[in-house]
């Protein structure tokens, strides 16, 4: 949810709660004010009538109008003092409905020792209408104020938070591996100036570390190459020796295997750091289906040996501008992957069109988290001597050319989909 929306929602909900509570209290207060007033009037009238009864011993002359009804009954014997005021409903024949009244009843004994009952009704519906009207006016006023406040708040927030969104956008677009350092726009708000400063400082530090790490990786892999080559060559000479016994050979074998593994690891890492450092800049137009053909041909015998059925669906010729050896490595890694992890009598399906390359293969279930499939040194227990860099290299090449890759599993079918459309990736970034 956007910041401004969130603020507005908080604002509206708090105001609404405040208004509901306020409105309730206001309603009670205004009602009680009106009723108190009304009851005072009724009491005054009653007192006037009692006074008249006391002094003149006669009933005053009331003009009874509807809505203000006075009934006085006088008795010869005295009456206990008693009285109350309550709200009651009377039926109005003209309007044909019940109408609320405030009703005063007072019983008592006059000075002349005569009892009386005074009953005064006063219409309430007009008062209630008045209260309703006041409340309605208040509601409208409140709604108008709230709308105005939200409006003002929204637009002022937008301009206040503007630099923040700008910073956010710059950060989003920023890639630590690109050549230029992070540039953030200026702001007049102190907090944002501080934020931008902190971010710039942090990104500089990260960039420095990133580049020195990259350099270290490449240098380390590079420096390891020669010693490894020497070990390899000496081992190869050693196994040629006629004097070696079987026991000695069995001792040399693991050393040879381990060294081979190390060399492969080293070459893989070197390749990754070279891709990382963008050292494969020579690009040309590459026909992808040709590379697929070539690789399938290269591994034809192993495919036959495992009795794997290859289904190939080239929907249209696809030409990509890539570095030739990287394109080769990409495709061959994917295809060997689909062969290595395949099962006897399995199948491989390859689908190629302008948008994507999809390679599916039957295989054992993954023994690693699919999320980590493209990480370095991630490998299933079954892949034996593999150094676990194949898919990491694939991912590296994919990143370099801003393609995307996705892994899907349905049943025992593993699918890797490479999406060639760069726009797709940009959309993803915006959405996230």
């Amino acid at each position: 949810m956007k910041l401004l929306t969130k603020i507005s929602i908080y604002y509206i909900s708090f105001s609404l709660v405040a208004f509901l509570i306020g409105g309730f209290i206001f309603n009670r207060v205004i009602k009680s004010i009106f009723y108190t007033q009304l009851d005072e009037n009724l009491t005054t009238e009653k007192l006037l009538i009692v006074e008249q009864i006391n002094y003149s011993d006669s009933l005053p002359d009331f003009r009874t109008v509807f809505g203000h009804l006075i009934e006085v009954t006088v008795f010869n014997e005295p009456k206990q003092k008693f009285g109350f005021i309550k709200t009651t409903f009377l039926f109005d024949k003209e309007k044909g409905k019940l109408i609320p009244f405030r009703h005063l009843i007072a019983e008592g004994t006059s000075i002349k020792n005569r009892g009386y009952i005074i009953s005064i009704y006063k219409r309430l519906d007009e008062t209630q209408n008045l209260i309703t009207n006041i409340l309605l006016t208040m509601t409208f006023l409140f709604l108008f104020l709230m709308a105005l406040l939200i409006f003002v708040n929204y637009f002022s927030s937008r301009s206040v938070w503007g630099p923040f969104y700008q910073t956010l956008q710059n950060l989003n677009k920023y890639d630590i591996s690109q050549d230029t350092p992070l540039e953030l726009s200026k702001s007049s708000t102190k907090e944002f100036v501080l934020l931008n400063k902190a971010l710039t400082r942090m990104s500089k530090k990260i960039r420095r570390d990133y580049f020195s790490l990259k350099e270290f990786n490449e240098n380390a892999s590079h420096e390891m190459q020669t010693p490894l080559a020497i070990i390899n060559s000496k081992l190869e000479l050693l196994v040629q020796s006629e004097k070696l016994s079987e026991d000695q050979m069995h001792l040399i074998k693991p050393v040879y295997d381990a060294t081979t593994r190390m060399s492969k690891l080293n070459q893989g890492l070197l390749l990754i750091s070279k891709i990382d450092n963008n050292q494969f800049f020579a690009t040309e137009k590459i026909g992808i289906e040709k590379i697929i053909e070539k690789n399938l041909e290269n591994f034809e015998e192993i495919i036959q040996m495992k009795n794997i059925e290859v289904r190939k669906e080239i929907e249209e010729p696809v030409v990509l501008t890539m570095n030739k050896s990287l394109a080769d490595i990409l495709i061959s890694n994917l295809i060997t992957n689909s062969i290595k992890h395949n099962v006897q009598n399995g199948h491989i399906s390859i689908l190629l069109n302008r948008k994507k390359l999809q390679i599916s293969n039957t295989g054992q279930p993954l023994s690693i988290d699919p999320q980590k499939l493209f990480e370095r040194f991630r490998k299933s227990d079954r892949s034996g001597d593999s150094v676990g860099l194949g898919l990491a290299i694939v991912k590296e090449i994919i990143n370099l050319y801003q393609f995307t890759i996705e892994y899907l599993l349905s049943g025992s079918i593993h699918t890797l989909i490479i999406d060639f459309s760069r726009e797709g990736k940009l959309d993803d970034q915006n959405a996230s």
């Binding site: 590079h222 190459q225 020669t226 490894l228 080559a229 020497i230 390899n232 060559s233 000496k234 190869e236 000479l237 196994v239 040629q240 079987e246 050979m249 069995h250 040399i252 074998k253 040879y256 295997d257 081979t260 060399s263 492969k264 070459q267 070197l270 390749l271 070279k274 050292q279 494969f280 020579a282 290269n298 591994f299 015998e301 192993i302 040996m305 495992k306 570095n323 030739k324 050896s325 061959s332 890694n333 060997t336 062969i339 290595k340 892949s383 034996g384 001597d385 593999s386 194949g390």
Partner: protein
């Protein structure tokens, strides 16, 4: 057969030299660009193995110099730089082959033989070994003058063995020779095992001898007697 090895890493140079000398090549070494330049100006070589990154110069310049002299020398680049640019520029200026370090000595040996075979204009482009006769260009193999049918990979295997007679060829080196670096898995070792069996059978069916020996889980060896 005269070979010049231009490689600045002493120990690596020594290993290659040892291996090639066992193949009865006349192998000379140069550790620097200057030494190499001197030697190519003084002597004629059948094949030159050159490292691209030398302490005092670029191996590519040596290739250019050789090519200016219209030399018929075969050239193999060996480079630690696993980069296509080197490979392309090297092959572009006339190198015959390119090997990335680290490589198997047996692979280097096979490449040298292949170049020399291709450059051997006078002689017939044939490989002869006892009762086996191979015409590489036609991909034909005769045993006792009877044609045997080998698959492409079996054919490659046989040539590789014949290039490295009496050598222990590790399974890894065979797999890499057949498929490149990516296919060093149990699958490929199984495949190699099956196809070596096939080669043996096909050669023996036509009265050939069984030359291929298994070496204690390490690999195989093609015996010359």
């Amino acid at each position: 057969m005269k070979v010049l090895l231009i490689e600045d890493e002493k120990e690596l140079s020594a290993s290659i030299e040892t291996y090639l000398k066992q193949e009865n090549y006349l192998c000379e070494t140069a550790l620097t660009y200057n030494q190499a330049e001197e030697k190519i100006n003084l002597y004629q070589y059948d094949c030159i193995i050159v490292d691209i990154s030398l302490p005092d110069g670029n191996g590519l310049d040596i290739i250019r110099e050789l090519k200016e002299n219209q030399s018929e020398t075969g050239i193999i680049i060996i480079s630690a730089k696993n980069s296509l640019d080197d490979k392309l520029s090297g092959l572009g200026i006339g190198a015959d082959d390119y090997l990335t370090k680290p490589f198997h000595l047996s692979e280097l040996n096979a490449r040298i033989k292949s170049i020399i075979r291709r450059r051997n204009f006078s002689g017939k482009k044939e490989l002869l070994f006892n009762e086996i006769r191979i015409i590489p260009e036609a991909m034909q193999v005769f045993v006792n003058e009877k044609l045997i049918i080998l698959t492409k990979k079996e054919f490659d295997l046989l040539i590789y063995f014949l290039s490295n007679k009496d050598r222990v060829l590790t399974k890894e080196s065979l797999a890499e020779h057949l498929w490149g670096e990516v296919m060093d898995t149990a699958d490929s070792f199984d495949f190699i095992y099956t196809h070596i069996k096939n080669i043996r059978r096909k050669v023996m069916e036509k009265g050939g001898r069984d030359y291929i020996q298994t070496i204690y889980g390490m690999g195989y060896k093609f015996l010359s007697q």
